[in-house]
Amino acid sequence: MCTVCGCSEGETRIEGHAHQHSHGHSHGHEHEHSHDHGHEHHHEHSHEHSQHHNHAHEQDEAHSHQHGDGLHDYGQGAARAHAPGLSQSRMVQIEQDILGKNDQYAHANRARFEQQSILALNLVSSPGSGKTTLLTETIRRLQQRWPLAVIEGDQQTSNDADRIRATGVAAIQVNTGKGCHLDAHMVGHALASLPELEGGVLFIENVGNLVCPAAFDLGEAHKVAILSVTEGEDKPIKYPDMFHAADVMILNKTDLLPHLDFDVDACIEYARRVNPDIQVLQCSARSGEGMDDWLKWIETQRSQRIEQRIRNLQNRIDQLQAL
C-alpha cells in the first residue's frame, strides 16, 4: 500500500471520494511501479496509465531518465549508463523513521482534533470481536448527548458503515482493498466527508487485525483494543504490539463467560505484562452489562479535552490582555 496517498494496492475506496484521490497524489510513484509486473500493488488505480506502461516498458528501458522526481537519472536502464561526473557514489545519513510520512499525516489529524476538541478513538481488534455491535450500542446511548461520527475500515463492503448509518450517525466507509490497516492519510481524507464534530467523539473502527494497525498512528487520542471472551485469554501476549499500543482493553461479550473457560484474571495479567498501564474495562454490548463504565470512560476523556482547550484559550486571553 502506498502510505502517502493511502491508495493501497490501488483499491482503497473512501466513500464520497470514489477513486479521485488516488490519482491526485502518487504519480511519480506510480509510474515507477507500473512497469513492474512482479507484484500486484498499484495496478488497478493506474489503469489509464498502466495499460500503456505495463507492457511497453518491459523492453523499453530508455524511459528511465524521466523518473526519479525530475532529477537527471541516467542510471535506471539495463545498461546502467552513468553520465560522467554526475554519479559519484556517496553516503547520506538520514536517520528517518520509515513511517515518518504516516506520522506527519497523523500529526495533522491530531492537530485538527485538538483544535475542535474532538475525541478520536481508534478501535482495534481481531475480526469478530464485536466492535461494530459495541459501537452501535455506544452510539445509541450517546447520540443525543454529543456529535458523533464513525470512520469504518474494512477490506471490502460497506456493511459496517450501513449498520452505523442505521443509527442515524454519520459514517464513512474506507475500503482498504488488499490493505490490512487504516493509515493516517486515509483518515484525513475521510474526515473531509464528515460533518462538523466540535466537542464530539469520532470513532475509527480499524480493519479487524491485531497486527498491522498497531504500527500506524492515525492521530487518535487513544487506541482501544477490544478482545472478546470467545477468543483466547492469551491474545495480549500473542499480539503484544497491539496491546502495548492500546491505552484501554475492553473485554467484550462478558455475558458469555458462564459458558466459556475464559480466564479473565489471566487475560488481564497478560495484558499488563505487555502494557503495565493498560486500563481494562469489561462489558457486553449485547446484555448491556459494563456499558456504563465504558461510557463513563469516554465522557471523562471528552471532558478532559474540552477542559484542556478552555485552559489553552484562557491562557491565550490572559496573554492578550497583558499586552
Binding site: M1, C2, T3, V4, G28, H29, E32, H33, S34, H35, D36, G38, H39, H41, H67, G68, D69, G70, L71, H72, D73, Y74, G75, Q76, H82, S87, Q88, S89, R90, M91, V92, Q93, I94, E95, Q96, D97, I98, L99, G100, K101, N102, G179, C180, H181, N209, V211, C212, A214, A215, F216, I237, P240, D241, H244, Y270, R272, R273, V274, N275, P276
Partner: protein, 113 residues
C-alpha cells in the same frame, strides 16, 4: 503483514531525500529495526526487493541492523535487555518494564550517487 507498506514507505523517504539531498540513485540502504518494531526482517527484505524495481533504488541492497531491546525496570530500577514485549525483567521477574529501545524502525544511512 504490513511489510509491503513499510517497504513502500522506505521508497517514499528515498524519493523525498533524492530531491532534498540531490541524488538520483540509491545503491544501498541501511535500516535500524528493533526486535519490538513489529517488523519481520525476512518479509521486509522480500517486499523491499519487490518495490524497488523501477524506482531510484532499483537493484539496491538492503542492510538491516538489529538493535537490542532495552527496558527500564521499575521493579529493580535498572536498564535490562528484553526480546519481547511480554518479557519479564531478567533480574527481578517484574513485568513493570518501560521499553526504552527496540521499537525503532528507521532508515539510518544510504549509499547514493
Amino acid at each position: 503483514m504490513h511489510e509491503m507498506s513499510v517497504a513502500e514507505g522506505i521508497i517514499q523517504v528515498l524519493e523525498d531525500q533524492a530531491v532534498s539531498q540531490n541524488f538520483s540513485r540509491v545503491k544501498k540502504v541501511w535500516l535500524e529495526i528493533g526486535p519490538l518494531a513489529s517488523i519481520d526482517s525476512d518479509a521486509l527484505r522480500f517486499c523491499f526487493d519487490a518495490v524497488i524495481r523501477g524506482t531510484l533504488a532499483d537493484n539496491a541492497s538492503l542492510e538491516i541492523i538489529g538493535l537490542p531491546g532495552l527496558a527500564w525496570c521499575l521493579g529493580c530500577g535498572q536498564s535490562v535487555a528484553i526480546q519481547q514485549r511480554y518479557d519479564a525483567c531478567p533480574e527481578c521477574g517484574s513485568y513493570h518494564l518501560q521499553v526504552t529501545q527496540g521499537d525503532e524502525m528507521r532508515i539510518k544511512e544510504l549509499e547514493v550517487e
